[in-house]
């Protein structure tokens, strides 16, 4: 079962990361996103009497990107403290397995989710709460978030920190790379949660947080044995 706190955190994350990705994309891909800059900028431009709705839209995107990033940063810090203090981090459990087993599990999972092949019994019986592909994609996400947040904070306070133009340029590149890594995770995450075999997870996340026991036995047997044995 996913707790209420876990689901609320996920929902906050979902909203903030979506808004940050959209406002960031408006700055990163102005050519592709100018229609959105125009759409959000036009009402305010009309109110301000500005003849440049795209510029007003970009200004809004830039301002809100910084504000939302601050909110997200505070939320992430609080959430990270909660996870660490209450030892709720299970997403990396699959990485404790020997590398050979991890590779075998990753191949079997890819065959299962892409080609529809059944999982071999030994792989199926050793699945943790989060499988090895989820664990590695989370590593990608963590690297992405560290790049995004560290470079973002340093860029916002670059004047006060006395950073050189060269440092700022490097930070901007790292910010982009962080976004691309996060985007990679989001693609994989969306694919996984929208996959038919994971439908109970999707339903649980957006309803009461419960999954059928039978589904849990098939998808996270090792973790279930751990829970049934009295673990957290």
């Amino acid at each position: 079962m996913a707790s209420m706190g876990y689901r609320i955190s996920h929902q906050i994350n979902l909203v903030l990361i979506t808004l940050l990705a959209i406002t960031g994309s408006m700055l990163l891909f102005p050519g592709l996103m100018s229609w959105l800059s125009y759409a959000v900028g036009a009402p305010l431009a009309a109110f301000l009497g500005s003849p440049y709705p795209v510029s007003v839209g970009e200004e809004l995107a830039r301002t809100s990107h910084r504000f939302l990033a601050d909110v997200w940063g505070v939320f992430l810090i609080v959430y990270a403290i909660y996870l660490l203090v209450f030892r709720r981090i299970h997403v990396f459990d699959a990485l404790r397995k020997p590398l050979g087993d991890q590779i075998r599990e990753a191949r079997a999972l890819a065959d299962h989710y892409i080609l529809g092949k059944p999982l071999p019994d030994d792989v199926a019986s050793s699945l943790e709460r989060h499988n090895v592909l989820v664990a590695y994609m989370t590593v990608v996400l963590v690297v992405g978030i560290v790049l995004l947040s560290a470079s973002g904070v340093l860029m916002v306070y670059s004047t006060y920190l006395g950073l050189t133009e060269g440092s700022y340029r490097l930070l901007l590149l790292l910010h982009d790379l962080g976004f691309y890594l996060a985007l990679l995770f989001i693609f994989a995450h969306l694919f996984a949660v929208l996959h038919p075999s994971n439908r109970p997870l999707l339903v649980a996340m957006f309803s009461y947080g419960r999954i059928p026991l039978e589904w849990a036995r098939r998808h996270m047997p090792r973790y279930l044995r751990h829970v049934e044995g009295g673990g957290s």
Binding site: S37, S50, R169, L173, L177, H195
Partner: protein, 287 residues
């Protein structure tokens, strides 16, 4: 076409300037004329080890004469023959935005505030500028500067004067004829012939990042070439921003292909699951 597209004219169209620093006496008339024509406020200056003042461009100083020290070989005719010796020299170099043929600042601007006019002038419209600093980040010559209002400013190539049949203010005022203003095709030809004579030329055959060429082309003899070498980067590129541009080109189509592929795989899985479900239901009915 998008709302923030940049369409610069070809490098051989529009206008250009040939800057012959051998003729420059460092009087700073160009620097003053620029401030005067553009109505730029004076800024508080500081002492420094060089004559350059202010130390670099500011939002109120779009043209600055930089002074460089270097050694130059000189020949002295004596009754015993020519004696060649090295001497320390000071060379003034009047600098401003070089108006790149394919301006990276204009490509980087997210609000479309930087446009390239048919004359080839790269111009910031301050009413559209949102102060993000992406132009400063993209410029290999560190030209755009943030003003006290948070917006960015730089040389406009005096496009308002050009459009009214006049030269840029700095070119018109120069007492020694350092600046030769004219159609880009003619100026490029002049620069090429100067290069053929063995003079140092900066502004042609540059990195594709700036379009391979700029519209303010510098020439000098060996005697003052050190100023050009000290002032301009050997490679007119900002590597980090170039990498960003490459990624920006690659990622959207890759993301689209990835999204379509994952959707197709997901849909196929959904279809397969549905067929299997129907089969099992059929079996149950038959039993």
């Amino acid at each position: 076409m998008t709302m923030v597209a940049v369409n610069p004219p070809p490098a051989d169209q529009g206008f250009a300037v040939l800057v012959d620093i051998d003729k420059c006496i460092g009087c700073r008339a160009c620097q003053l004329a620029c401030k005067d024509w553009n109505g730029l406020a004076p800024v508080k200056t500081t002492f420094s080890p060089t004559f350059t003042n202010p130390q670099s461009f500011t939002a109120q100083d779009w043209k600055v004469v930089f002074y460089y020290e270097g050694t130059a070989k000189k020949g002295l005719a004596t009754p015993a023959g020519e004696v060649v010796f090295e001497q320390v020299d000071v060379a003034p170099l009047p600098a401003q935005c070089l108006h790149c043929a394919a301006a990276p600042c204009a490509r980087a601007c997210p609000s479309g505030a930087i446009s390239v006019t048919p004359e080839g002038a790269v111009v910031i419209n301050k009413d559209q500028c949102i102060g993000c600093g992406f132009c400063e980040n993209a410029c290999p010559y560190d030209v755009p500067r943030r003003g006290s209002d948070g917006k960015y400013y730089k040389c406009t190539f005096c496009v308002d004067r050009i459009q009214n049949g006049r030269e840029p203010a700095c070119a018109e005022v120069c007492p020694t004829g350092v600046f030769t203003f004219g159609p880009a095709s003619q100026i490029v030809q002049m620069a090429q012939s100067e290069a053929a004579k063995g003079r140092t030329v900066y502004g042609l055959n540059l990195n594709p990042y700036v379009g391979g060429q700029v519209r303010w082309i510098y020439v000098s003899s060996d005697r003052k070439a050190f100023a050009i070498k000290q002032h301009f980067p050997s490679d007119a590129v900002v590597p980090t921003n170039e990498a960003r541009e490459v990624l920006r080109e690659i990622v959207p189509p890759l993301a689209l292909v990835g999204a379509v592929a994952l959707t197709a795989v997901g849909f196929a899985s959904w279809r397969r699951a549905r067929i299997e479900e129907q089969k099992s239901q059929q079996k149950q009915k038959e039993q």
